[in-house]
Symmetry: C2
Subunit: 200 residues, 2 copies
């Protein structure tokens, strides 16, 4: 069984859902597209780990709503209690930061500033979906608990990333006067206009 299978079981353990719905919820724990979700659901169903029923809708296409079976819950519980977890992050931004020296200061700043905008957008999106959950009312076994702590994790990491971005922007600003100094030493005679442009 592959990891996506467990991610799906994990979501269906909280709530019965259609394959179409799963895609949205999966984003927070194990992103996947429909084209991967549907075949995986079929495979899990064949193994008896989940059941489904057709639900008719008005004004919308009918859907197949999947629920986890007792067998599925056991399989999931077994996997969750196993130790060990693999984790991979692949972020093009890191490569660009690694080569930030190739950019002039304006472009370097832009790179970081766009990252800030990007992460802030993600925080806003999450706030919208998280809504009202009352934190201290949540028991560990309630369905809301896990969502709540995962949400908190994401927000914390994203805020830390933003704070790091500002730290980098500060370093970039500091490096400016230093360059100016080097340049002054090099030429000895200078033009005030050029100096101003390098400082601001």
């Amino acid at each position: 069984m592959n990891t996506l299978g467990y991610a799906i079981l994990s979501l269906l353990n909280q709530n019965s859902r259609s394959g179409y719905d799963l895609a949205d919820y999966l984003d927070s724990i194990w992103p996947a597209k429909h084209s991967q979700i549907y075949p995986t659901l079929a495979k899990l169903h064949k193994k008896g780990l989940l059941a489904f029923e057709y639900v008719e809708q008005i004004g919308k296409p009918n859907k197949k709503v999947f629920s986890i079976t007792e067998k599925g819950r056991k399989e999931l519980a077994k996997w969750v209690s196993e130790v060990q977890f693999s984790s991979v992050t692949r972020d093009e931004f890191l490569i660009k930061v690694h080569s930030i020296g190739l950019l002039d200061i304006e472009k370097a700043k832009k790179l970081i500033e766009e990252r800030i905008a990007h992460v802030e957008k993600s925080i806003d999106l999450q706030r919208a979906s998280a809504s009202i959950e009352e934190e201290d009312e949540l028991d560990r076994n309630s369905t809301g608990f896990a969502k709540h702590i995962l949400h908190e994790r994401k927000i914390r990491l994203e805020k830390e990333e933003i704070s790091w971005c500002h730290w980098v922007l500060d370093l970039l600003k500091k490096s400016k006067p230093k360059r100016l100094l080097m340049w002054l030493i090099g030429i000895k005679q200078f033009d005030l206009g050029v100096v101003e442009r390098m400082l601001f």
Copy 2:
């Protein structure tokens, strides 16, 4: 050109290295195995983005040391200044946290504590490799600058993750007395030994 190609160019832009060495350095920006690195190097070489020379070693197998070409540097610079970056994280831990309700308190704690151990190990490993880099001496264009800020980013995020883990452990401890209370209400008569075990 795929992203791994740019990651490799980015590393070779700082330092000429063999394919074998690249694997270690790639981990921090775009993890890849040898089996993927060697064919990619060949492809980049065919495009004229990098050159190589054979270096004989004593007591070790000979190696092919790759360096970036002027064409490669231009190609990389172009890509780095393009906006937009895709980023994916797939972490089995998140799925397990999502299903934390299936675990009893001991196992739930163990899950989080093992995460702490895992992240702390990673921090230690990094400290070892980062060594002495004097932070305020680094100019933006120096090769050390990018490494330095990427290192700082990783450390910050990992520390934040650990602090989140402790926050979760606290919540788990708090939820214990609540469960005890529910249980007491349920049975009305109780055994002090059981109460103690649930509290500590």
